[in-house]
Amino acid sequence: MPDLSVEQFQTLSQQIYQKLGLHFDEKKIYFLKTRVAKRMTALGLDDPREYMFKLSYADPHGEEMQALANLVTTNETYMFREYDQLQAFANYCLPEVLSAKQARGERTLRIWSAGCSSGEEPYTLAMIVQDVFPQAQSWDCEIVATDIDENMLKRVAAARYGARSVADVPDEYRAKYLLEDGDEWIVRRRTTALVKARHLNLSDRMAMRAMRGFDFIFCRNVLIYFDDLSRKAVVDHFYNALNPASYVFLGHSESVGRVNTAFKLKRFENHLVYVKE
């Protein structure tokens, strides 16, 4: 396996951060090395410097960066993925937004799960909302789950998942919000009622403009696969889709600030989140 020196690893991490907005720290040196080795084999290169040069100066359409992106991210979706971030949402952001609304006499809550795939994320959010905020049923509360793939939307509607998808669901949540059915799990109706699945292409700017008035947007591990310009266009639309004092969540290693500086960084204990002020 070609040896990535520490300095090369650092340069590569910075390149990836600048192109894809993904953070890789020292702990990931072996991880990155093995993925880069795969790409180098595919390209017939044996010197990491050649590969890094290609990424910087011989990748005009960003194809190689995308190929690397595909290797360094997992497409797997499952409930309660990136738990840390969900904790920030559940323990800080959601309560903050709800109190502010209560103080203003508002009783609506709208969340958007953009690029929802087969629905594990919107249902995760629905469970958290119900748990943190039992009055959700008496408010006008909606989680809009959008995806470009109609087959995925059908799976969202079915709300039926295998063991892998639910493996990380905490026991109390599983008991309250899921129903076992053979070797599958069904999301209970009170929870599915909060989720509305809809077709949406994130690159369709007119459709994106119609999305307004959200308090939270989740778009995790989706934008990595977009090119620079398209990614920025999507996040810029997210900004307009959000109410003031509302939050956007990309994947925990994707940086919002890298894409759009209108959002402000906020810290809750050891969680960093981005807010539209």
């Binding site: 396996m1 040896d3 020196s5 520490v6 300095e7 020292e26 040196i29 072996y30 991880f31 093995t34 410097r49 040069f53 910087s56 100066y57 700017r205 403009r209 307004r212 310009l229 920025k232 266009a233 810029d236 900004y239 307009n240 759009n260 500086t261 209108a262």
Partner: protein, 349 residues
């Protein structure tokens, strides 16, 4: 159907989102007449979101007007505007070069530096004339930026000029930039030039030594190996990464090198309590060049049970490339006790 006029009006609307969409739509219209209203709005726009949309629109408008407009913005008082303009021009690629040449001729030193920032994303060949002038620019920051770019882009045609610049009694930052550039474009004669310029490593300050070591990593061989190795026990811990990187890079070019008396103990010391942890990993990897020696082999085996995962990782990687009777069983046994996923992967290789 909406026209440019309608979008222009909305560009001055009260609602931030409306202004953003107006800018976006002007961008998608992709006509040169869209540029002046965008620039006019930019001058008075307080919202970062709308400004961002205006710059996106300038990127989408393909006509030269967008380039000319962005060039004007390079002289803005506002650094956010200046630097976003750099980004727009960078994305325009070689199309912007003729305009940039004019700025190089007529602009002040800050503008000239920004031109080089624009060029940093492009192949040097298209802008050869600009670089040739930039390397003789009266402002040292312009020269430094030019040298940085040329190295990163592997513009070997400028090698001799950069060697000359390194040889002058110039600001150490320029000297460092030249060294870094020669890492990418240097050859044997560059190695000679570097050694003549820096005959005495002991007096070289750290910030230049780091760049020097990178050059040795790229260009050095047996002679340099020994000199670099002698630095490990005496220079500060923050220099360990470039020292170790240089050793790792040079050794494969002279694989029968003996480590000498001081290197192995110095490497072991770094493995055992070096700082930062990544250095300990590097030190294990360098040690493994001599894994055929029984003492080194035994040491590597002991590293498999280090408390520091990077040490275990380095040992696993190194040993899996070694051939010794009984090693496979040792690695398999270690795998049963190992909890770290990546170390397990390395053990399995």
């Amino acid at each position: 159907m909406s026209t440019l006029k309608e979008f222009e009006e909305k560009l001055h609307g009260a609602d931030e989102a409306e202004r953003t969409y107006a800018a976006e739509d002007i961008g998608y219209l992709n006509v040169p007449d869209g540029v002046p209203p965008l620039l006019e709005r930019l001058a008075q726009e307080p919202s970062l979101a709308v400004r961002a949309a205006i710059f996106q629109a300038l990127i989408r408008i393909e006509a030269d007007a967008a380039i000319e407009g962005s060039i004007e913005l390079l002289g803005s008082e506002d650094p956010q505007i200046r630097n976003q303009a750099v980004d727009v021009l960078r994305r325009k690629g070689p199309q912007s070069i003729p305009f940039l040449k004019t700025v190089m001729r007529e602009g002040d030193k800050d503008m000239r530096k920004l031109v080089l920032d624009v060029l940093s994303g492009m192949q040097a060949g298209n802008a050869g004339e600009i670089y040739a002038k930039a390397l003789s620019d009266p402002d040292v920051n312009v020269v430094i930026t030019a040298v940085e770019n040329l190295g990163r882009m592997r513009a070997a045609e400028f090698r001799t000029r950069i060697e000359e610049l390194m040889g002058t009694d110039s600001h150490p930052m320029l000297t460092g930039a030249c060294l870094e550039a020669l890492v990418e474009i240097g050859d044997e004669s560059s190695l000679g030039a570097i050694r003549r310029r820096f005959p005495d490593l002991t007096s070289l300050p750290d910030f230049l030594l780091a760049s020097y070591l990178k050059a040795m990593a790229a260009l050095g061989s047996a002679t340099e190996f020994g000199e670099v190795a002698s630095l490990l026990p005496v220079r500060g811990p923050h220099l360990r990464p470039p020292i170790l990187s240089a050793l790792m890079a040079i050794y494969p070019h002279c694989p029968l090198l003996e480590p000498g008396e001081t290197l192995l103990p110095a490497l072991r010391a770094v493995v055992e309590d070096g700082d930062p942890p990544l250095c300990r990993y590097q030190a294990v990897r360098v040690l493994s060049f001599w894994a055929a020696r029984d003492d080194v082999y035994a040491f590597l085996l002991s590293c498999l049970s280090s408390r520091e995962r990077l040490v275990r990782l380095g040992a696993a990687e190194s040993l899996s490339m070694t051939k010794r009777p009984g090693l496979a069983q040792v690695l398999a046994a270690r795998a049963l006790e190992e909890s770290d996923e990546e170390v397990l992967q390395a053990l399995a290789c």
